[in-house]
Symmetry: C3
């Protein structure tokens, strides 16, 4: 682990209440020297899929760290609480075992080791029914950052038992490439599940014009390298900074233009088709 | 004080402007080694009661620290600026003397020592008329975190003179327990002033069904241990993670369901009544 | 530079996504010991003028630091990326060369030295087309905080070539002082470009009554030292905590009262005129 030890922190706690701040306090108690980076606390409430995608996109940019993530609609119920060691050395993940950690773990080479931390010796007692961030996840993350071994944090779980998250997959149709909106960000950019290879198969080459069809409407767009390569207000299909295919409007919002939300399927159609 | 020294920071400055960031800069100037935890800066503007409740709920979760809190509708007027030592060792409170600090001080065992910091030697001169966070509160908090004694920070004030904050109180009626909404959080959970003892007196046992009456409407609810003990969409009455009695909707918002806001009185009625 | 080294960080990335957090991660990679202060990440999207004004108001309150600022509508296009040394010792500025850094540099005594960092040896490769915060600005800021010299960060640029930002100027008319709204903050306070000297010339003395005219409407106001000097709900003209002339409503919002937005011109008219 780096010096000072690093903890990244993602949740759906929002910024209006003290929940994220209290978890910071618990961390300061368990590992006063830790440096904590807030990835975001504005994951849409209880939206495990968005949380998993944002976490995946963030962790690969981070130095070795304990990645603490909490989007937990099942808190107080049957779901497991886990800490995972990723295959990439120095990267640990702590959170509910509901799929939230899965994409990040995959991005970090997969799960090398896993423990159930529901009864961790590092937990804060009494454990409340509703605030496991404070009582389980943050104290375990702090203990790991302070140097505790993963096996000391809980009971072994087979890596294969960790809950997975399935993403939709873009697929070729007669009339184009059917893709899904995975995320919509602050700027209204829409991350898709399409791949560069699929775009080529659908006849949408770099620089080419295309149609984006959704909800009975068809929008002209261009496959471009970056925003500045199209006119203001124009829709573009591009590879974003995380390597994903995305839709954007230069100086505008693709989410607003297309009235598209996370999970929706749209059709990318080469102009020659 | 812990090493590094800890400052917690709560305000109604919001995140849109540089106000909270500037206070961080002032702290970095006065105590470069301090670790600052933002509890929240999204207290509703000038809402001293909500600020006091959030601060109370946060401080008891924090390690020994200087707790800097600023919700200050009277800035530039007659209200005193204070620094307080709580009875719990290592916990100091800095802010306007308008009730904001009172509930937190009570939670920390009461005020052991108080000073008026309006003319503190640690203040930043000239003191502006409108930004005492930058000019008085943050620099005094930084000086205290850096090890200055409380008496060096200002002129002694009798602890009994510190401004108090009165909360409403739930009370038993013929037809049930009249309680008040103290806070509504991000998740739409409603914290009430009811106590477990009062619920028992009103005939609302753990697991029991009840009615929640507000604004001429009556809603069915259940007293439960946690969200997962009721069906999605169901209203529950539970003890929250801070030990308060609260209303919530599993995977929903009690604030929206009941159209309830902070300060409102509602009636909890045992189903047998 | 102070110990630990300080980086301040302002952007329009918002808090909903991981963008600001990822930049924190990049900084932790390049300068693990750096202390990062978030000024704000809620600059209105791609609003370079507001970003420049907020940055200017913040930097003069900060200890010596690397000031990282990103509001970058031209990312991926022709605009230069720069690092600047201000005349005030210890203050460096890193960001797009689109005027964003100009007002802060002026406030810090002007640009002493400038380098083009578009091909900085400290950049993260491959440089994406759309996320220069992660790939250029944050890693260069981290390298400078870690002690790298400015000349090592890029290719020299003449300070006179750095892109400037022109602000509007208040001016005297027959019937009063025409001033412009530069910023509107969270509290609805409106910062103007009027100066104390211009107010005197317009016959608006401290304590005097005046009229504020905008959009065909005329509003009574008073020039006052602070909020508490006027009644709740009253409009006041005052010198704000950064030394700027501003309009506010005591316990209310001047932006709402006047329906005024950034950039608008209004007329301040002495009551005797």
């Amino acid at each position: 682990l780096p010096e000072p030890p690093l903890i990244t922190f993602l949740s759906d706690y929002g910024h209006a209440d003290e929940f994220a701040g209290v978890c910071h306090g618990v961390i300061a108690h368990g590992c006063p020297q830790a440096h904590v980076i807030d990835i975001t606390h504005a994951i849409p409430r209880q939206d495990v899929l968005t949380g998993a995608l944002v976490l995946r996109d963030a962790v690969s940019q981070m130095p070795p760290a304990v990645h603490l993530a909490i989007v937990d609609p099942g808190v107080g119920g049957e779901r497991r609480a886990v800490a995972l060691a990723a295959a990439t050395p120095g990267h640990l993940l702590v959170g509910p075992d509901n799929g939230l950690l899965w994409l990040a773990a995959e991005r970090l080479g997969g799960v090398r080791e896993a423990v159930d931390i529901g009864r961790s010796p590092f937990r804060r007692e009494p454990v409340s029914a509703t605030f496991h961030g404070r009582d389980i996840f943050a104290p375990v993350a702090a203990a790991l950052a302070a140097g505790a071994g993963l096996q000391a944090a809980g009971d072994s779980v087979a890596p294969a038992e960790v809950v997975r998250l399935e993403l939709p997959s873009a697929y070729l149709r007669e009339d184009g490439l059917a893709a899904h909106v995975l995320r919509s960000d602050t700027f209204g950019n829409l991350v898709l599940d399409a791949t560069t290879h699929q775009l080529a198969e659908a006849g949408i080459a770099p620089g080419a014009e295309l149609r984006v069809e959704l909800g009975g409407k068809s929008h002209g767009a261009r496959r471009a390298g970056t925003f500045a390569h199209v006119a203001p207000g124009e829709l573009l299909l591009y590879e974003d900074a995380t390597g994903m295919i995305a839709l954007a409007v230069n100086l505008g919002s693709a989410a607003e233009r297309l009235h598209a939300a996370s999970g929706e399927e749209l059709l990318l159609r080469g102009a020659t088709r």
